[in-house]
Symmetry: C2
Subunit: 145 residues, 2 copies
Amino acid sequence: MANVVFKAVAEAKEGLATKVVSRDFEITLDEPADLGGTDTGMNPVEALLGSLAACKSIVVRAFVKKYRINLKSIRVEVEGDLDPEGFQGINKEAKIGFSEIRSHFYIEADNSEEEIERYIEFVERNCPVQDTLTKVAKITHTING
Amino acid sequence: MANVVFKAVAEAKEGLATKVVSRDFEITLDEPADLGGTDTGMNPVEALLGSLAACKSIVVRAFVKKYRINLKSIRVEVEGDLDPEGFQGINKEAKIGFSEIRSHFYIEADNSEEEIERYIEFVERNCPVQDTLTKVAKITHTING
């Protein structure tokens, strides 16, 4: 067991725009106008789906040799259902976050359908972002002045 | 109940680099060299933490009027513990994703400590990304040629 600590920082910009920094990298997240933002970047729930899609795409590519997959191309599309009336406080019955997340793998490989299906089952189990979404981590917070 | 479908697509680039597209926005995710990538962007688990940090920062700013918080500044730092030996297949006992996620709110506001604490408790409950990490969504996938 050798835990690595990963880290990201959100710095507030104008309106709801947010600069996200991790190591030397920076992205801008925001909200569209109908959710109160100025639409200068994808929003956090879209970035969450993007991190999931990218994670699966990376796992697909990273293990092809081990699983003898002759990969030609991979694209991963992820959709999620979310009712904004939940976090907006309009509907107390609505879930705050995503109620359903669907991943669509568009994969071309010189392998049988069964080999590809088995490989994608492995990818689904072995994706760190998906694991974080399905096996709840310990979550804590601190407040600092 | 009015579900909105949010979407993101991961397109494979060179090595493990990945272009993530959502609506008109695009970010590049990758892996550092020690995880097999070419380090052209933050990696998916860092982007996941970044989406969480940004989501909390946005919820902090979006509800200040309703909760009478006189906000002066907000920065949110998020750390997560992950053992790469899990997804690398080296240690079968290791969790694949994050085992613990810690959020640190750096907040300045003209309010009492109690008011700020109560407000952050609300933010912790009302953040769509955090809700997705703590209340598991239905997860499905399809495979397409």
